[in-house]
Symmetry: C2
């Protein structure tokens, strides 16, 4: 097995040795959910003060309100009783470095990892590409407060989302660790 | 604003006061990604030993290999250089407590939170329902090692996923904190 695999299992062994959370119930104790980006620099438990058992955390590339994020949020509320939702995008997001067209083009050329240089993304030219990326909406971001507003709006207007759930829209600053409210998104997400 | 909102911002203030991670680069330093469940009891950073900057974390209801999880994984590898992926489902998952049909029926009856009792899920009868749930695949789980195998298989056979990325399939035990390998999934996910 790989070095990373061994490291993860070794870290898990230490976690198990000190584990005292085996009694926690399934529904989140603090009744809320966070939708945020998969970015490695973000640790929602740390930046929002969560302990095990507190809140649902949904993460994807960009922290976008994709169909799958909506699926998760509806389950979170309908079956597991969360009553407030946070949508948290962040500064310096990878989703701002490319467009739908760039990603599709890169994947058509090669499936291997691309490189980011002064003129943007380029393929290193190994191997075969595939056109399947043409059928995926990559949900890229142009500007963070715009994407937060769009996603809060999308969730707010979804037919399966009750009007009395407040949806908070914020941006996490990767340079400072700070959560910053997006006033327009906060307005859009207000419970009705 | 709500009590929860104030608590999250207060916790964030403490995080910012001790923050020393402002220098981290965008690509994950340890070049791997974890796909796991949104369940509140799971803290992937803790159970797998991650610091800020180490690894991408993708989470949804069940930790399923949905289209959106695939979107995130492909971006994670193609643009941000992760080279190994973990798929981690868990014991006592909420996704095992219902079926596609139960969820659709609950949502048709009411959008409000349902209750779980001795005879399973039931609606408390308030408000209006909506049929939009009929058009969503809720990605429920019958048995965890089966769902891990299915998801590792789905990612392994996706046309945009290079064969040289190993995909590890594991189950997290919420009673002990332990990560347990699923041998069949490990086999399916081997790099080719």
């Amino acid at each position: 097995m790989s070095k990373i695999f061994d490291e993860v299992l070794a870290a898990n062994k230490s976690y198990v040795a000190a584990f005292d959370k085996g009694h926690l119930p399934m529904p989140p104790g603090r009744h809320f959910a966070i939708l945020t980006c998969m970015d490695a620099r973000l640790d929602p438990a740390k930046y929002a003060g969560l302990s095990e058992g507190d809140a649902h955390v949904i993460r994807n590339a960009g922290g976008r309100a994709s169909d799958d994020a909506i699926r998760s949020l509806v389950i979170s509320y309908k079956l597991l009783g969360t009553r407030e939702w946070f949508v948290i995008h962040h500064t310096d997001c990878g989703m701002e470095t490319f467009t739908q067209e760039i990603m599709r083009d890169l994947l058509r050329k090669s499936l291997k990892a691309a490189q980011f240089g002064e003129s943007g993304w380029s393929d290193v030219g190994q191997g075969e590409g595939h056109p399947a990326g043409d059928f995926i909406n990559w949900l890229t971001i142009q500007e963070q407060s715009e994407s937060v507003c769009a996603d809060v709006q999308h969730i707010r207007s979804h037919p399966l989302v009750p009007q009395d759930i407040p949806i908070y829209g914020l941006i996490y600053d990767v340079k400072t660790g700070k959560l910053i409210e997006v006033p327009e998104a906060m307005q859009i997400g207000r419970a009705g």
